[in-house]
């Protein structure tokens, strides 16, 4: 544990210089430690408090640093997809698709329309899943456990759809470079349609429980607010920025994967406080449902993956018969495909904001450098500024409403 005066130096230089005593000048130091029921993930906040009021705070992170960027330099492209899963693990398909799109940009591969629409459906489903967790946990932290249970039952239905498409529930490793690995089976489509039918009443019930709930409103309105200028200066993106009033959505500004074909609104808040973030996420769930409906209706027929022989596994019948197919099958699985030289930056709208992939390839089978622009890491630095002056219980709610996912924070 470093000296307290160096820890607090950067956040508020006008603070009195502390010595190593815990209780100095009437201020208590409280360690909202890495393991805490309120921090959903491992990150620490050392708060300096005047009674119940927070005077200053220093976030420390890195408790789940798994060295993704260094790991990615040693893995071929298809083996990096499971790594991207573990970034924002509540919405893994978005990370997977973002990574595949980055590689496709590098290779110049065009994904067929049907593949793009399938990707959009999966990404929007995972966005719904991510927001369900965030809002459910916000309810739990303010004392309302029931909403969380209702929403997680719906998440189980989303998990079943993911299982039909890719085999696993949470860390999906979904999609291939050039499209999707398998089409929507009739059973998957039936489960998807059943979800689209059964989910809205549950969501409406959840909203009825919380949106105009006097206690919830009192606890969340004007709590943890941030202005739009400050949010932009801190690099906020995603629902947190939209709650502050800026309608920046990567799906609209730099459309990818046929998002320009769909009609949807960007919900924008006004005050940037916890209540606005909650409502913006709820509204985004409705907009995602709208996008999924449109994608299902307008789904074109056709191939789901580009015929890129270096990245698409050849059909099994050919693998057993032709030597060339066997060689490509082996090379793709073992990751012996060399990528072209280039550097590319691609970003997608993740559950928490602009998730960017900066890939530099030097012609080998693994990237030379892969950097993830992680939205959680970037907006978490503004957390002390959002909670200074508020009570501890407000700080807990602000933390929940920011939806900080530890995997994305530390990478």
């Amino acid at each position: 544990m470093k000296e307290l005066n160096t820890i607090f130096a950067d956040h508020n230089p006008k603070l009195p210089v502390l010595n190593d005593e815990i209780y100095v000048n009437g201020l208590t130091t409280l360690n909202l430690g890495p393991t805490h029921p309120a921090t959903h993930g491992v990150f620490q906040n050392i708060l300096q408090m005047d009674g119940e009021k927070i005077v200053s705070g220093v976030p420390t992170i890195g408790y789940i640093h798994r060295a993704f960027e260094k790991l990615a330099e040693h893995r071929p492209f298809y083996q990096i997809t499971p790594i991207t899963d573990r970034l924002n693990y509540c919405s893994s398909p978005i990370n997977n698709m973002g990574w595949h799109m980055t590689v496709e940009k590098l290779l110049g591969v065009e994904v067929p329309k049907r593949g793009q629409y399938l990707r959009v459906i999966m990404m929007e489903l995972s966005r719904i899943a991510d927001h369900l967790i965030c809002n459910g946990i916000l309810g739990v932290d303010s004392g309302a456990y029931t909403g969380f249970l209702y929403l997680f039952e719906e998440r189980e239905n989303i998990y079943e759809i993911f299982e039909e498409v890719c085999g696993t529930r949470l860390t999906t490793n979904m999609g291939r470079v050039g499209g999707m690995e398998r089409d929507l089976t009739p059973r998957a489509e039936a489960k998807l349609r059943k979800f689209l039918d059964k989910f809205p009443p549950i969501m409406r019930e959840f909203e009825r429980m919380f949106n105009r709930n006097r206690i919830f409103m009192d606890r969340t309105i004007d709590v943890g607010g941030i202005t739009a200028e400050k949010a932009l200066n801190y690099g906020f993106t995603g629902p947190n920025l939209r709650a502050a009033g800026v309608d920046y959505d990567v799906r609209v500004m730099n459309p990818y994967s046929s998002y320009e074909d769909f009609e949807f609104e960007i919900p924008v808040g006004t005050a940037g406080d916890t209540y606005d973030r909650f409502i913006v996420r709820n509204e985004e769930i409705w907009q995602s449902l709208r996008i999924i409906h449109q994608a299902l209706e307008k789904m074109p027929a056709g191939p789901i993956i580009a015929q890129e022989q270096h990245y698409k596994l050849p059909p099994k019948e050919l693998v057993y018969k032709s030597m060339e197919a066997l060689i490509y099958h082996f090379k793709i699985i073992m990751g012996e495909i060399d990528a072209p030289v280039g550097e590319v930056y691609h970003s997608v709208e993740g559950g928490n904001g602009e998730l960017g992939f900066y890939l530099i390839s030097d012609g080998g089978r693994t990237p030379y450098r892969l950097h993830f622009r992680r939205p959680c890491f970037i907006y978490y630095q503004a957390y002390p500024e959002m909670v200074v002056g508020s009570q501890l219980s407000d700080a807990i709610l602000t933390l929940s409403s920011l939806n900080v996912i530890a995997g994305e924070l530390d990478a």
Binding site: A9, T60, L71, E73, L232, Y234, E343, Y345, Y358, A411
Partner: protein, 166 residues
């Protein structure tokens, strides 16, 4: 959206000799500059009335051990939300003198991004309010993302390298 050529012309006209090189990989204008000029270019683009590059999307570094004299590259990704234009600025640093002025006065978001870059590559951002390690342990005495260091922990005894294909 501002055309890349127009932006490049403006940068060359305003900053002349500072723009050492430029390229457009995959449609994103990339300019190379020296470490003394980076902050000038960033502030100029920030304050410009019509371009308004006020959003720092990303700040990272890359290590090229074979480029003697310019081993470390600091990469800034800028975004102008009003005009929907992106720009990438690269500054080259020698590994024996990896010092560059901080951008955290201009963009509050650069604070932790620079700390991360320091943690991984050892780049010193002069003027940074609190340049300490952020993701790795405080006691770590090397910069892990540099190419000379291995991915695995060099001190581990439990995993037999031969069985793990290393």
């Amino acid at each position: 959206m501002i055309a890349n050529q127009e932006l490049l012309d403006y940068l060359i006209k305003k900053h002349g000799a500072s723009i050492l090189d430029s390229a457009e990989p995959f449609g994103l204008l990339t300019v190379h500059t020296g470490r003394e000029n980076v902050l000038d270019i960033l502030s100029d683009l920030y304050a410009h009335d019509s371009y308004r590059f006020r959003f720092l999307t990303d700040l990272c570094a890359v290590h090229y051990p074979q480029n003697k004299g310019a081993e470390l590259v600091i990469v800034y990704h800028l975004h102008s939300l009003e005009t929907n234009t992106r720009l990438r600025i690269k500054a080259f640093l020698d590994i024996n003198d990896p010092v560059i002025p901080t951008a955290s006065e201009l963009f509050a978001t650069a604070n932790w991004m620079e700390r991360e870059t320091y943690d991984f590559f050892g780049v010193i951002f002069s003027g940074h309010p609190n340049l300490v390690r952020i993701l790795n342990e405080d006691e770590m005495d090397y910069f892990p993302m540099r190419k000379e260091y291995t991915l695995e922990d060099p001190n581990r005894r439990d995993k037999v390298d031969k069985m793990f294909g290393r």
